[in-house]
């Protein structure tokens, strides 16, 4: 296959960026999207140009490091698939593929397609955990957890923190990510004591970090490679509402 890639190039956080066209020949359908970029990058290096910077690590769809807008869709055309797991067999000869970084104030561009998602870490630091210092745990079987609850918690815990939800959201909101963590921990008995404070603190931090507000536009869930459901957001809202109404917890 022969493709034309239209890639966002930006030399640094404060530089202006623009889309640049690159023709790539000999794209094999068995290649992953990132392998195609590897091939292009090797050529660019030999041509004396700077290779395209993009984030990636595991290339197995689990670390959440990769991610780019491919033809206007976060992680590209395949549902429930990260960029690194997207294979070129989903493209056709002659396609023009536009590649852009995630765009959000909370995710400033570092270079080309690389953005800083540190804001997600801040949200988790604000309360996305269960306080259980090492050594303090009772036997693992002390509290049985109904399988449906455990499964649901797992479903939410599958979030890889890639940021596609923010990238896809017309409001630039990080609610799906925030809600996934609140849901994961809020569904487990171990997570109950901090359930409401966790929700309130994480949401307050989310809002303070320049993420947009959620209008339930529903663009995030289809973009999410791990299928985090929109209902998680309702769950988070419920916890926050309950905490607010009861006045039980004010954001720290």
């Amino acid at each position: 296959m022969r493709l034309t890639l239209r890639v966002w190039r930006q030399a640094g956080p404060d530089e202006d960026g623009r889309l640049v066209d690159y023709a790539v020949d000999d794209v094999s359908p068995d290649m992953s999207f990132l392998e195609m970029l590897d091939v292009l990058n090797e050529r660019l290096v030999l041509d004396g140009e700077e290779p395209i910077a993009f984030d990636h690590d595991c290339r197995e769809g689990i670390c959440g490091m990769c991610g780019m807008m491919i033809n206007g869709v976060a992680h590209g055309p395949e549902r429930a698939t990260t960029t690194c797991q997207l294979h070129m067999r989903h493209f056709s000869d002659g396609d023009v593929v536009v590649i852009e970084p995630w765009r959000a104030r909370a995710f400033p561009v570092i270079r080309d397609l690389v953005v800083d998602r540190g804001a997600f870490d801040r949200i988790i630091e604000a309360g996305g955990y269960i306080t259980a210092p090492t050594g303090s745990a009772p036997d693992a079987h002390a509290i049985p957890i109904p399988k449906p609850d455990a499964d649901k918690a797992f479903e939410a815990a599958a979030c890889i923190g890639c940021g596609a939800c923010v990238a896809a959201c017309p409001n630039g909101s990080g609610m799906l990510f925030t809600a996934a963590k609140a849901t994961h921990l809020g569904l487990l008995p171990q997570g109950q004591p901090e359930r409401h404070s966790r929700a309130v603190d994480m949401l307050a931090t989310h809002d303070a970090l320049d993420f947009g507000g959620c209008t339930n536009a529903g663009e995030c869930a289809p973009a999410c490679p791990k299928g985090i459901p929109l209902e998680s957001i309702a769950r988070l809202n419920r916890d926050v509402l309950r905490a607010t109404v009861s006045g039980a917890h004010k954001p720290r």
Binding site: W8, R105, G213, E219, A234, N237, R238, L241
Partner: protein, 208 residues
């Protein structure tokens, strides 16, 4: 948003019910406002309920719009650089049109109040005879069209609004989600149908 939207949503339902009285002839329809004014008369005085409702609705509207503007502003701040290439709409169409839909509805509301509440823009403009005003309006196709457009926009707004409010208030969950979406759609369609019934009846001569 959810709370103020909810208040206005209740009003819209009441409004629609009132409108439908047009189908039962001029007396029934013209009685309706009188009845409204008489609600809680003993406690609130004549017309007291209507004024309370008006103040409540105005407040809801202002807060609703303020919140909407704030959200829109936040969204703009949250994404200072736009995408060069963006495939539109993966979620629902209704969700994507909330903002413009809201603006259209607001503009329509201004016209609507000047038309039928104040009577300034109405061909008849007799405040004692709403039935006459309404039927006079809808005999003009362009007035009916304006109303129809506004009502469909409102339908979209309500469809996403109802669902979104339930989501925001935390009522939605995995099992219920499908159902709630259906309910939102059903309610929106019913409201559209209820409101459109009036101009439709006038235009087709069912109501004279």
């Amino acid at each position: 948003m959810a709370v103020t939207g909810g208040a206005m949503f209740l009003f819209v339902i009441g409004h629609m019910a009132g409108n439908l009285k047009v189908l039962f002839g001029p007396e029934a329809f013209n009685e309706h406002p009188k009845w409204l004014r008489s609600i809680g008369e003993g406690l609130l005085g004549h017309g007291g309920f209507v004024w309370i409702a008006r103040v409540g609705l105005l407040l809801s509207l202002v807060l609703h719009m303020t919140a909407a503007i704030q959200l829109a502003r936040r969204a703009r701040t949250a994404r200072p650089a736009r995408y060069q290439h963006r495939r539109p709409v993966q979620g629902s169409y209704a969700a994507r049109t909330m903002r413009w839909g809201g603006v259209i509805i607001a503009l329509f509301l201004v016209y609507h109040l000047m038309d039928l509440t104040a009577g300034w823009l109405n061909p008849v403009g007799d405040l004692e005879n709403p039935y006459g005003n309404v039927t006079a309006d809808f005999r003009h196709w362009y007035v009916s069209l304006t109303y129809a457009v506004a009502i469909v926009t409102l339908g979209f707004h309500i469809r996403h609004g109802v669902w979104s409010a339930l989501q925001t208030l935390g009522a939605s969950n995995g099992a219920r989600q499908r159902v709630l979406r259906g309910v939102a759609l059903g309610v929106a369609v019913a409201i559209c149908a209820g409101f459109l019934a009036v101009p439709f009846s006038v235009l087709t001569g069912l109501v004279k």
